[in-house]
Symmetry: C2
Subunit: 180 residues, 2 copies
Protein backbone atom coordinates (compact mmCIF):
# COMPACT_ATOMS: atom_id res chain seq x y z
CA UNK A 1 0.00 0.00 0.00
CA UNK A 2 1.29 3.44 -0.94
CA UNK A 3 2.22 5.99 1.73
CA UNK A 4 -0.69 8.41 2.16
CA UNK A 5 0.53 11.99 2.80
CA UNK A 6 -0.63 13.79 5.95
CA UNK A 7 -1.91 17.34 5.46
CA UNK A 8 -2.99 19.92 8.05
CA UNK A 9 -6.51 21.34 7.85
CA UNK A 10 -4.96 24.67 6.75
CA UNK A 11 -3.08 22.96 3.90
CA UNK A 12 -6.26 21.14 2.85
CA UNK A 13 -8.31 24.37 2.80
CA UNK A 14 -5.59 26.37 1.00
CA UNK A 15 -5.16 23.62 -1.63
CA UNK A 16 -8.88 23.39 -2.39
CA UNK A 17 -9.07 27.21 -2.50
CA UNK A 18 -6.31 27.12 -5.13
CA UNK A 19 -8.28 24.50 -7.10
CA UNK A 20 -11.35 26.78 -6.86
CA UNK A 21 -9.27 29.70 -8.21
CA UNK A 22 -8.37 27.50 -11.21
CA UNK A 23 -12.06 26.63 -11.62
CA UNK A 24 -13.07 30.33 -11.60
CA UNK A 25 -10.36 31.15 -14.16
CA UNK A 26 -11.65 28.30 -16.38
CA UNK A 27 -15.20 29.69 -16.12
CA UNK A 28 -13.95 33.11 -17.19
CA UNK A 29 -12.43 31.49 -20.29
CA UNK A 30 -15.88 30.05 -21.12
CA UNK A 31 -15.06 26.53 -19.91
CA UNK A 32 -17.09 24.47 -17.45
CA UNK A 33 -15.52 25.77 -14.20
CA UNK A 34 -13.47 22.88 -12.81
CA UNK A 35 -9.99 23.20 -11.29
CA UNK A 36 -7.37 20.89 -9.81
CA UNK A 37 -4.06 21.10 -7.97
CA UNK A 38 -1.46 18.52 -6.92
CA UNK A 39 0.34 18.86 -3.59
CA UNK A 40 3.65 17.31 -2.50
CA UNK A 41 5.25 17.86 0.92
CA UNK A 42 2.46 20.33 1.68
CA UNK A 43 3.22 22.51 -1.35
CA UNK A 44 1.33 22.91 -4.63
CA UNK A 45 3.49 21.51 -7.44
CA UNK A 46 0.92 21.63 -10.27
CA UNK A 47 -2.37 23.41 -10.93
CA UNK A 48 -4.74 23.51 -13.89
CA UNK A 49 -8.24 24.34 -15.00
CA UNK A 50 -10.52 22.68 -17.52
CA UNK A 51 -9.48 23.62 -21.10
CA UNK A 52 -11.56 21.28 -23.24
CA UNK A 53 -13.20 23.88 -25.48
CA UNK A 54 -10.08 25.99 -25.85
CA UNK A 55 -7.76 23.04 -26.56
CA UNK A 56 -10.32 20.83 -28.36
CA UNK A 57 -8.53 17.88 -26.79
CA UNK A 58 -10.42 14.96 -25.25
CA UNK A 59 -8.01 14.81 -22.31
CA UNK A 60 -8.13 18.53 -21.41
CA UNK A 61 -9.82 18.01 -18.03
CA UNK A 62 -8.31 19.88 -15.05
CA UNK A 63 -7.02 16.69 -13.36
CA UNK A 64 -5.25 15.41 -16.50
CA UNK A 65 -3.47 18.73 -17.05
CA UNK A 66 -2.41 18.88 -13.39
CA UNK A 67 -1.11 15.29 -13.59
CA UNK A 68 0.90 16.04 -16.76
CA UNK A 69 2.35 19.18 -15.16
CA UNK A 70 3.37 17.17 -12.08
CA UNK A 71 4.89 14.46 -14.35
CA UNK A 72 7.02 17.14 -16.03
CA UNK A 73 8.04 18.70 -12.72
CA UNK A 74 9.00 15.42 -11.01
CA UNK A 75 10.32 13.74 -14.18
CA UNK A 76 8.24 10.59 -13.67
CA UNK A 77 4.83 9.13 -14.50
CA UNK A 78 4.60 7.95 -10.87
CA UNK A 79 3.13 10.55 -8.50
CA UNK A 80 3.47 8.65 -5.24
CA UNK A 81 3.45 10.75 -2.05
CA UNK A 82 1.27 13.44 -3.66
CA UNK A 83 -2.35 14.47 -3.05
CA UNK A 84 -4.72 15.67 -5.77
CA UNK A 85 -7.44 18.25 -5.10
CA UNK A 86 -10.25 18.77 -7.61
CA UNK A 87 -13.44 20.81 -7.39
CA UNK A 88 -15.64 18.13 -9.03
CA UNK A 89 -15.66 14.34 -8.58
CA UNK A 90 -13.38 12.79 -11.26
CA UNK A 91 -14.82 11.02 -14.34
CA UNK A 92 -13.65 7.53 -15.41
CA UNK A 93 -10.79 8.94 -17.51
CA UNK A 94 -9.41 11.13 -14.72
CA UNK A 95 -9.98 8.53 -11.99
CA UNK A 96 -8.14 6.02 -14.22
CA UNK A 97 -5.26 8.46 -14.68
CA UNK A 98 -5.09 9.03 -10.90
CA UNK A 99 -4.86 5.23 -10.42
CA UNK A 100 -2.24 4.91 -13.17
CA UNK A 101 -0.18 7.71 -11.59
CA UNK A 102 -0.31 5.88 -8.21
CA UNK A 103 -1.61 9.03 -6.48
CA UNK A 104 -2.53 7.83 -2.95
CA UNK A 105 -4.91 10.63 -1.82
CA UNK A 106 -7.70 12.60 -3.51
CA UNK A 107 -9.87 15.41 -2.12
CA UNK A 108 -12.84 16.56 -4.18
CA UNK A 109 -15.57 19.19 -3.85
CA UNK A 110 -18.92 18.55 -5.55
CA UNK A 111 -20.27 15.13 -6.50
CA UNK A 112 -20.88 14.36 -10.19
CA UNK A 113 -24.05 12.27 -10.17
CA UNK A 114 -23.98 11.80 -13.98
CA UNK A 115 -20.37 10.77 -14.56
CA UNK A 116 -18.51 10.51 -11.24
CA UNK A 117 -16.31 7.41 -10.96
CA UNK A 118 -15.30 7.77 -7.30
CA UNK A 119 -18.51 7.76 -5.24
CA UNK A 120 -21.43 8.37 -7.66
CA UNK A 121 -21.50 5.79 -10.51
CA UNK A 122 -18.39 3.79 -9.58
CA UNK A 123 -16.01 3.45 -6.62
CA UNK A 124 -12.87 2.69 -8.62
CA UNK A 125 -10.53 4.01 -5.90
CA UNK A 126 -11.71 1.27 -3.51
CA UNK A 127 -11.40 -1.61 -6.03
CA UNK A 128 -8.99 -4.15 -4.51
CA UNK A 129 -8.80 -6.09 -7.81
CA UNK A 130 -6.66 -3.20 -9.13
CA UNK A 131 -2.96 -2.82 -8.25
CA UNK A 132 -3.52 0.51 -6.47
CA UNK A 133 -6.12 2.03 -4.15
CA UNK A 134 -6.72 5.69 -3.38
CA UNK A 135 -7.90 7.28 -0.14
CA UNK A 136 -10.69 9.69 -1.01
CA UNK A 137 -12.11 12.64 0.93
CA UNK A 138 -15.30 13.96 -0.72
CA UNK A 139 -17.18 17.18 -0.03
CA UNK A 140 -14.25 19.58 0.63
CA UNK A 141 -15.55 23.16 0.06
CA UNK A 142 -18.44 21.42 -1.71
CA UNK A 143 -20.81 24.41 -1.49
CA UNK A 144 -18.36 26.72 -3.28
CA UNK A 145 -17.62 24.15 -6.02
CA UNK A 146 -21.32 23.42 -6.59
CA UNK A 147 -22.30 27.11 -6.61
CA UNK A 148 -19.65 27.85 -9.23
CA UNK A 149 -20.95 25.09 -11.53
CA UNK A 150 -24.59 26.00 -10.92
CA UNK A 151 -24.13 29.68 -11.77
CA UNK A 152 -22.10 28.77 -14.88
CA UNK A 153 -24.87 26.55 -16.25
CA UNK A 154 -27.60 29.06 -15.29
CA UNK A 155 -25.73 31.75 -17.22
CA UNK A 156 -25.21 29.38 -20.17
CA UNK A 157 -28.92 28.57 -20.30
CA UNK A 158 -29.82 32.27 -20.08
CA UNK A 159 -27.43 33.03 -22.97
CA UNK A 160 -28.91 30.19 -25.06
CA UNK A 161 -32.44 31.46 -24.35
CA UNK A 162 -31.45 35.01 -25.36
CA UNK A 163 -29.81 33.67 -28.54
CA UNK A 164 -32.92 31.66 -29.45
CA UNK A 165 -35.12 34.74 -28.83
CA UNK A 166 -32.86 36.91 -31.01
CA UNK A 167 -32.95 34.31 -33.80
CA UNK A 168 -36.74 34.15 -33.60
CA UNK A 169 -37.05 37.95 -33.79
CA UNK A 170 -34.68 37.96 -36.78
CA UNK A 171 -36.77 35.27 -38.52
CA UNK A 172 -40.00 37.17 -37.89
CA UNK A 173 -38.42 40.36 -39.25
CA UNK A 174 -37.34 38.54 -42.43
CA UNK A 175 -40.83 37.09 -42.91
CA UNK A 176 -42.35 40.56 -42.40
CA UNK A 177 -39.97 41.98 -45.03
CA UNK A 178 -40.93 39.23 -47.52
CA UNK A 179 -44.63 39.84 -46.89
CA UNK A 180 -44.29 43.57 -47.58
CA UNK B 1 -27.11 6.96 -30.01
CA UNK B 2 -24.04 7.75 -32.07
CA UNK B 3 -23.65 6.46 -35.63
CA UNK B 4 -21.48 3.33 -35.57
CA UNK B 5 -19.16 3.17 -38.62
CA UNK B 6 -19.30 0.10 -40.88
CA UNK B 7 -15.96 -1.46 -41.82
CA UNK B 8 -15.17 -4.31 -44.19
CA UNK B 9 -13.34 -7.36 -42.84
CA UNK B 10 -10.29 -6.26 -44.87
CA UNK B 11 -10.35 -2.81 -43.25
CA UNK B 12 -10.69 -4.38 -39.80
CA UNK B 13 -7.74 -6.72 -40.38
CA UNK B 14 -5.54 -4.00 -41.90
CA UNK B 15 -6.33 -1.59 -39.04
CA UNK B 16 -5.47 -4.13 -36.33
CA UNK B 17 -2.30 -5.07 -38.25
CA UNK B 18 -1.33 -1.39 -38.16
CA UNK B 19 -1.99 -1.31 -34.39
CA UNK B 20 0.21 -4.43 -34.05
CA UNK B 21 2.98 -2.66 -36.00
CA UNK B 22 2.78 0.20 -33.47
CA UNK B 23 2.91 -2.36 -30.63
CA UNK B 24 6.04 -4.00 -32.11
CA UNK B 25 7.73 -0.61 -32.52
CA UNK B 26 6.90 0.20 -28.87
CA UNK B 27 8.45 -3.12 -27.78
CA UNK B 28 11.62 -2.28 -29.71
CA UNK B 29 11.81 1.00 -27.77
CA UNK B 30 11.69 -1.02 -24.51
CA UNK B 31 8.03 -0.20 -23.79
CA UNK B 32 5.29 -2.72 -23.01
CA UNK B 33 4.25 -3.54 -26.62
CA UNK B 34 0.79 -2.00 -27.05
CA UNK B 35 -0.39 -0.11 -30.14
CA UNK B 36 -3.52 1.71 -31.27
CA UNK B 37 -4.94 3.33 -34.41
CA UNK B 38 -8.03 5.42 -35.11
CA UNK B 39 -9.96 4.97 -38.35
CA UNK B 40 -12.35 7.40 -40.06
CA UNK B 41 -14.11 6.69 -43.37
CA UNK B 42 -12.13 3.45 -43.61
CA UNK B 43 -8.76 5.25 -43.37
CA UNK B 44 -6.26 5.43 -40.50
CA UNK B 45 -6.13 9.04 -39.24
CA UNK B 46 -4.00 8.48 -36.12
CA UNK B 47 -1.65 5.80 -34.81
CA UNK B 48 0.50 5.49 -31.70
CA UNK B 49 2.36 3.08 -29.48
CA UNK B 50 2.83 3.01 -25.72
CA UNK B 51 5.45 5.59 -24.65
CA UNK B 52 5.14 5.61 -20.86
CA UNK B 53 8.77 4.93 -19.97
CA UNK B 54 10.16 7.18 -22.69
CA UNK B 55 7.81 10.11 -21.96
CA UNK B 56 7.48 9.52 -18.18
CA UNK B 57 3.90 10.78 -18.56
CA UNK B 58 0.99 9.07 -16.83
CA UNK B 59 -1.20 9.44 -19.93
CA UNK B 60 1.31 8.00 -22.44
CA UNK B 61 -0.77 4.90 -23.27
CA UNK B 62 -1.20 4.07 -26.97
CA UNK B 63 -4.94 4.90 -27.00
CA UNK B 64 -4.47 8.32 -25.38
CA UNK B 65 -1.77 9.32 -27.87
CA UNK B 66 -3.91 8.14 -30.80
CA UNK B 67 -6.91 10.10 -29.45
CA UNK B 68 -4.82 13.29 -29.06
CA UNK B 69 -3.45 12.86 -32.60
CA UNK B 70 -6.98 12.45 -33.96
CA UNK B 71 -8.12 15.52 -31.94
CA UNK B 72 -5.36 17.57 -33.59
CA UNK B 73 -6.15 16.22 -37.07
CA UNK B 74 -9.91 16.79 -36.87
CA UNK B 75 -9.69 19.97 -34.76
CA UNK B 76 -12.16 18.74 -32.15
CA UNK B 77 -12.31 16.76 -28.90
CA UNK B 78 -15.29 14.85 -30.35
CA UNK B 79 -14.31 11.78 -32.38
CA UNK B 80 -17.76 10.69 -33.53
CA UNK B 81 -17.86 8.46 -36.64
CA UNK B 82 -14.44 6.99 -35.87
CA UNK B 83 -13.35 3.51 -34.77
CA UNK B 84 -10.46 2.81 -32.40
CA UNK B 85 -8.31 -0.33 -32.68
CA UNK B 86 -6.01 -1.33 -29.82
CA UNK B 87 -3.97 -4.48 -29.27
CA UNK B 88 -4.84 -4.75 -25.53
CA UNK B 89 -8.13 -4.16 -23.71
CA UNK B 90 -8.23 -0.50 -22.53
CA UNK B 91 -7.68 0.41 -18.85
CA UNK B 92 -10.07 2.74 -16.94
CA UNK B 93 -8.21 5.88 -18.06
CA UNK B 94 -8.25 4.97 -21.75
CA UNK B 95 -11.81 3.59 -21.68
CA UNK B 96 -12.87 6.85 -19.99
CA UNK B 97 -11.10 8.89 -22.68
CA UNK B 98 -12.83 6.82 -25.41
CA UNK B 99 -16.19 7.58 -23.75
CA UNK B 100 -15.33 11.28 -23.36
CA UNK B 101 -14.29 11.44 -27.06
CA UNK B 102 -17.67 9.90 -28.06
CA UNK B 103 -15.91 7.19 -30.10
CA UNK B 104 -18.73 4.79 -31.08
CA UNK B 105 -16.75 1.64 -31.95
CA UNK B 106 -13.72 -0.14 -30.41
CA UNK B 107 -11.90 -3.27 -31.56
CA UNK B 108 -9.32 -4.81 -29.24
CA UNK B 109 -6.93 -7.77 -29.33
CA UNK B 110 -5.95 -9.41 -26.03
CA UNK B 111 -7.94 -9.21 -22.80
CA UNK B 112 -6.36 -7.50 -19.78
CA UNK B 113 -7.55 -9.59 -16.82
CA UNK B 114 -5.78 -7.36 -14.28
CA UNK B 115 -6.86 -3.87 -15.41
CA UNK B 116 -9.25 -4.14 -18.38
CA UNK B 117 -12.27 -1.84 -18.09
CA UNK B 118 -14.22 -3.11 -21.11
CA UNK B 119 -14.88 -6.82 -20.54
CA UNK B 120 -12.54 -7.97 -17.73
CA UNK B 121 -13.00 -5.91 -14.53
CA UNK B 122 -15.64 -3.44 -15.77
CA UNK B 123 -17.99 -3.07 -18.74
CA UNK B 124 -17.96 0.72 -18.90
CA UNK B 125 -18.84 0.82 -22.61
CA UNK B 126 -22.21 -0.82 -21.90
CA UNK B 127 -23.15 1.46 -18.97
CA UNK B 128 -26.44 3.14 -19.89
CA UNK B 129 -26.16 5.54 -16.92
CA UNK B 130 -23.43 7.33 -18.89
CA UNK B 131 -24.22 9.74 -21.76
CA UNK B 132 -22.46 7.57 -24.35
CA UNK B 133 -22.14 3.87 -25.12
CA UNK B 134 -19.53 2.13 -27.27
CA UNK B 135 -19.90 -0.95 -29.45
CA UNK B 136 -17.01 -3.26 -28.65
CA UNK B 137 -15.50 -6.14 -30.65
CA UNK B 138 -12.98 -8.10 -28.54
CA UNK B 139 -10.47 -10.72 -29.67
CA UNK B 140 -9.38 -9.25 -33.04
CA UNK B 141 -5.97 -10.79 -33.91
CA UNK B 142 -5.90 -11.76 -30.23
CA UNK B 143 -3.22 -14.47 -30.66
CA UNK B 144 -0.74 -12.02 -32.22
CA UNK B 145 -1.37 -9.35 -29.55
CA UNK B 146 -1.03 -11.85 -26.70
CA UNK B 147 2.11 -13.47 -28.17
CA UNK B 148 3.75 -10.06 -28.46
CA UNK B 149 3.06 -9.23 -24.79
CA UNK B 150 4.03 -12.71 -23.60
CA UNK B 151 7.42 -12.71 -25.34
CA UNK B 152 8.12 -9.15 -24.08
CA UNK B 153 7.55 -10.16 -20.47
CA UNK B 154 9.47 -13.46 -20.87
CA UNK B 155 12.45 -11.50 -22.21
CA UNK B 156 12.12 -8.94 -19.38
CA UNK B 157 12.11 -11.72 -16.76
CA UNK B 158 15.11 -13.41 -18.41
CA UNK B 159 17.01 -10.09 -18.35
CA UNK B 160 16.14 -9.54 -14.68
CA UNK B 161 17.27 -13.09 -13.84
CA UNK B 162 20.55 -12.57 -15.69
CA UNK B 163 21.07 -9.24 -13.88
CA UNK B 164 20.44 -10.88 -10.49
CA UNK B 165 22.85 -13.70 -11.33
CA UNK B 166 25.56 -11.24 -12.38
CA UNK B 167 25.08 -9.25 -9.14
CA UNK B 168 25.34 -12.44 -7.07
CA UNK B 169 28.55 -13.50 -8.86
CA UNK B 170 30.00 -10.03 -8.28
CA UNK B 171 29.11 -10.21 -4.56
CA UNK B 172 30.72 -13.67 -4.21
CA UNK B 173 33.85 -12.41 -5.95
CA UNK B 174 34.08 -9.46 -3.54
CA UNK B 175 33.67 -11.76 -0.54
CA UNK B 176 36.35 -14.11 -1.90
CA UNK B 177 38.72 -11.14 -2.32
CA UNK B 178 38.09 -10.01 1.27
CA UNK B 179 38.73 -13.54 2.58
CA UNK B 180 42.08 -13.77 0.78
Amino acid sequence: MAVVPTLTSEQIKASMEAALDEARAAGQRGEVPIGAVIVKDGKIIASAGNRREEDQKTDAHAEMHAILEANAKLGTWRLEETALFVTLEPCLMCAGAILNARIPLVYFGAQDKKAGAVTSLYSVFADDRLNHQVKVVPGVLQAESSALLKSFFQELRAKQKARKKALKLEKNREQDEKAE
